[in-house]
């Protein structure tokens, strides 16, 4: 029968879609920033010689990596805020959707980033640490001046790749009815009966953004490989 495409909903919806994109970017940026900081700490805990610390970190990482992201988001949207309310005495009913999505994503991504960062730290030859120590550096100095700068340089491509995945996965916040870019597109499509058109449009936008980002990854990879 041939599908009878009608793209007329899109121009009017652009401001709304842009609002959605801002939420998507907010979540992505928060999750990357928190993920790198918390992920680095987790990675260092995991590599620590103190067994309780390394077990704790390993448990955290494995737990988050074994649950679908959708489930994590649901937990953080529906259950964790209630616990926090009773613990912290927050005003019940505050709109926690964005906050819970950010927290959920950040904690979830930290688990993935921790693994990447751990691999990055381990990819720095042991001899480098020995050389830093041999020059009289302390553990902190060796990490800060020698190991982490090299580790991050090796990791940039992987961190970016993970960020691209994260960017795509933000579409899952539909579970808390938060209108990220994907959710906004879907809602406009649903309202106007043009779901297929809006989703194809969203797909094209995602492709352009993610593909540009993966070109960036390739550029970094070349620089690191050189």
């Amino acid at each position: 029968m041939g599908y009878d495409f009608d793209w007329s909903s899109i121009p009017g919806a652009l401001p709304f879609l842009w609002e959605g994109m801002k939420i998507t970017l907010d979540i992505t940026a928060t999750a990357i920033a928190v993920g790198i900081v918390w992920g680095t700490l987790l990675a260092m805990m995991r590599l620590s010689s103190l067994t309780p610390l390394s077990w704790l970190a390993a448990g955290y990482v494995n737990l988050f990596r074994s649950i679908p992201l959708v489930m994590v988001l649901l937990w953080f949207f529906l259950i964790v805020p209630r616990l926090l309310e009773s613990v912290l005495g927050l005003a019940p009913g505050s709109d926690v959707r964005l906050a819970s999505a950010m927290v959920g994503f950040a904690l979830f991504e930290s688990a993935y980033y921790a693994e990447i960062i751990r691999a990055g730290i381990q990819s720095v030859p042991k001899g480098q640490v020995a050389a830093a120590y041999a020059l009289g550096m302390s553990y902190g100095q060796a990490m800060r001046l020698v190991v982490l700068p090299q580790a991050f340089r090796n990791m940039v491509p992987l961190l970016l790749t993970q960020a691209i995945i994260l960017f795509q996965d933000t579409s899952l916040v539909y579970v808390s009815a938060l209108a990220d870019f994907f959710g906004a597109a879907y809602k406009v499509g649903d309202r106007d009966g043009r779901i297929v058109e809006l989703l194809l449009f969203a797909g094209a936008v995602y492709f352009v953004i993610c593909y540009s980002a993966s070109l960036l990854v390739r550029y970094f990879r070349k620089r690191v490989g050189a």
Binding site: G127, A130, A132, A134, L135, G136, S138, V146
Partner: protein, 242 residues
Amino acid sequence: MISIRGVSKHYGSFQVLTDCSTEVNKGEVIVVCGPSGSGKSTLIKCVNGLEPFQQGEIVVNGISVGDPKTNLPRLRAHVGMVFQHFELFPHMSIAANLTVAQEKVLGRPRDEALERGLKLLDRVGLKAHAHKHPGELSGGQQQRVAIARALAMDPICMLFDEPTSALDPEMINEVLDVMVELAQEGMTMMVVTHEMGFARKVAHRVVFMDQGRIVEDAAKEAFFATPRSERAQQFLAKILHH
């Protein structure tokens, strides 16, 4: 200067070092050799506390390395070490490699550190390369920078762990030349190497290790003329043959 007394070390149930003892006096050059896996690297790393050991005692310049109260970073700052794979910091320029520890560990002002670094770089013949990164230098050049980096900390003694074995044959000599000069100036040195030419030229004593034990510890002349142990004889035969 360095005194190693009855040191033993094991990884789990695997004994790496068994009751090793030797002395390095001020101004002395000691060459350590022996088959692969005999524990040479481990021994030399014990000297500046890069590897912990379970028994025995190592005293460097009057400080006990194994003592938990010892401030190891401060001790290491004054014991220079050169590694098989150079271990320059690849993300820093040569100049930064030479100055970072002077600044952050010894607390020298940047200018002073740079001046000292460049002086030593000049000494190993690489002054022109200060702005480059390690990846842009050949192996031999990197190893000379690594020596300069250790010297910049004004070490009271130097440890070398197979400093030439990762080098192309042509580059070995440019590194050995620097080391010979250092030895002739009276630096206290403990050198793990298979370069018997170097040992013949500057070593005062040769220590031969096998399976974690110091099998032979003799003056250079005695060692090359008549190695006492059979294992050392075989070893010398193997590496001097063709």
